[in-house]
Symmetry: C2
Subunit: 397 residues, 2 copies
């Protein structure tokens, strides 16, 4: 009995040693494999990518020159337009050029660690050493990429990439830009508007004003594909919209608040010319329904929120922010010798209501003398600019 | 016993009849007196007054040409600088002219009915038939004055009065206007500033930009004492400040919120350049403490209000509103060929913090090329303009 027990223990110990040994060996082998992948890559196809990692969303553009270049990586990307729940490829956006095809992918920044782990697991990094990257994430996730897949993120200037990517798309995609004509906004609903493609010949492109709406707003005067100056900006931007929405309503995310603003009625919150003067203010050609004071009605009531829905607050905030950005942009454009104002930035994602309001604001302030324009490839210019860094031949097309 | 009771009842009835009769007689007499006062006034000294009744405050200016003119009315006004709890005379503001002296009185609009009753009781209206009046109250309280004291309010155009009163004061009071030099505002406290009198010779006065901050903001280009055009405006004004303060904090009045904003710290609420880029944004010369997104920090936190005091919110709102008004005013001034921007309106009452912030904003946006100016007689221009309507001789001084 004693001997039997000892023999079993010995066998168990042996099995354990063997298993642990095998695991260690496998780990070493994998590590060596990873090391071999990382240090002995015979080619670097990182230049076929451009990445832009923002605070919320990340974008990746991939230049397909020859499908064989990236083999299984290419096959994986093309096999589907969705990758898990938080990444997707915008098939309709793909650009066919004479020397290749550019694909556009989007992912949630919060899932980036999982993406990197997936890349490592599939050995997708075996032909990539350096990848051009812009956005705050180029700094923040630099170590994550280096340590896990041995990829060096080549930091590219955010605005330089934005301007170059944007100029590239404007020259190559004839129907890239659109505007809204006959915009009739109201204090409620989506209003009326005719979405119209605007093509500006390359020779007449510059200068133009670019209004980049992120947390804050930067207004740039762009004079060529590589030259731009910051002419103005305002601290009332997307961050103000989201911050005040979170403080004043039940909406916890940008997308929720934007959707709600469509059904809200700002007239329960704002003070109009009619509220103050009892009708039109004819001396200055201000009609009774002209907005006079954003949130003005809230100051005159003892219980300000009674009778006011969260949707109304979201609507009023949207109008306040877009009208103000429109005004500052219009006044800046007047000093910049251009009639064309382009809008970009995260604030325009989710739905059309923000773009329509901006188009209306520019039309209102400029008395229809200026036009707000928007982009179909909105959001991908930074990544595109990063891609172009090592693909200057595309610029010559 | 029965007879005694009957006799007492008869005496009581007689006394009642006598008392009621006396009361009726007195009332009739008073009514006749009032009627005589109203319909048989031998002189109308209403032209010695100018009134401006706004939504919150009312202002009355009184031109003393000869103290005997108004007798006891004059004596009553001069005997004190306070009249009850809600009206007062600004003794330090009085203007001595060669042909008379102008006095400045202020009252709460909500107490106007009591004021009228007091005037009637003292028969102060016996030499006044028509009084020039501007502001929304000229319409709203027209019947109150007519029915109770038989005074007709002569409606005067609000902006015309404002511009004329303002021009008059600017020409006659050498130390009327002041600015703040070396303004260093911070996210907290009153900041540093040197209050400096600015005298502009009458010949160089026009054109200038006038920014009138009420519930909303009107920006006027003033080219003479009677000519002006509305060049711009913004819906982010005093009404927005008060409305959002009431929704977001415990403060229920404008004055409370303004006082609180002095001790608040906006950095707990706003996002700075440093919060986004981790330091200065050298490419565009933006220092780390530059405001990037008003209320921006509120959008990034799960519990936005944790760690944020009501004072901080009041401060952040004040900075948001003043910075934005400063920017729109600066951009408008650039198109109006003037370096001088004057600010007026109810938003500037209570304490200096709003004026300082505006002075800072103009200095910031214009890179010290333009100057924000303020008035010692702030608030009284409308009433003064109404007074001037029938005292054109004063203009010729």
């Amino acid at each position: 009995m004693q001997r039997k027990k000892a023999s079993m223990l010995a066998r168990f110990a042996l099995a354990t040693v063997v298993v642990v040994g095998l695991v260690v060996l496998r780990k070493r082998k994998l590590k060596r494999l990873q090391a071999r992948i990382i240090y002995h890559r015979d080619k670097d196809l990182g230049r076929l990518f451009g990445m832009d990692v923002g605070g919320t969303l990340g974008k990746l553009v991939y230049l397909e020159r020859d499908a064989a270049d990236l083999g299984d990586v290419h096959a994986y990307m093309m096999a589907s337009t969705t990758y898990g729940k938080s990444a997707n490829r915008e098939d309709g956006m793909a650009l066919q050029l004479s020397t290749g095809r550019i694909h556009f992918l989007r992912f949630e920044t919060s899932k980036l660690e999982k993406v990197v782990e997936f890349v490592r697991h599939r050995c997708f990094h075996r032909h990539i050493r350096t990848m051009p990257c812009t956005g705050g994430g180029a700094f923040k996730f630099s170590k994550l990429f280096e340590d896990n897949v041995g990829i060096t993120l080549e930091k590219c200037d955010e605005l330089a990439c934005l301007i170059q990517g944007l100029g590239f798309v404007m020259r190559h995609v004839l129907d890239e830009c659109y505007t809204f004509k006959n915009v009739a906004m109201n204090h409620q609903g989506m209003g009326q508007a005719t979405k119209t493609i605007v093509h500006t010949p390359a020779s007449e492109l510059y200068p133009f004003l670019l209004v980049n709406i992120g947390s804050g707003v930067s207004i740039l005067k762009v004079t060529s594909e590589t030259e731009y100056t910051r002419v103005s900006g305002t601290s009332l931007g997307g961050g103000t919209y989201l911050g005040l929405c979170k403080l004043l309503s039940k909406y916890k995310s940008f997308d929720e608040a934007m959707d709600a603003s469509i059904v809200g009625d700002s007239n329960t919150v704002d003070m109009t010319v009619g509220d103050i003067y009892g009708g039109n203010y004819t001396q200055f050609n201000l009609s009774a329904d002209t907005l006079a004071s954003s949130f003005g009605k809230m100051g005159t009531k003892y219980e300000p929120k009674s009778g006011v829905r969260d949707e109304d607050v979201a609507r009023s905030l949207l109008i306040m922010i877009t009208t103000n950005i429109g005004q500052v942009a219009y006044l800046s454009a007047q000093r910049s010798d251009t009639q064309r104002i382009y809008f970009c930035g995260n604030f325009l994602r989710q739905n059309e209501i923000a773009s329509r309001q901006l188009a209306y604001a520019i039309d209102y302030w400029s008395k229809s003398q200026m036009q707000a324009q928007f982009f179909h490839h909105e959001g991908f210019f930074g990544a595109l600019g990063a891609l172009l860094k090592h693909n200057q031949d595309l610029l010559a097309l």
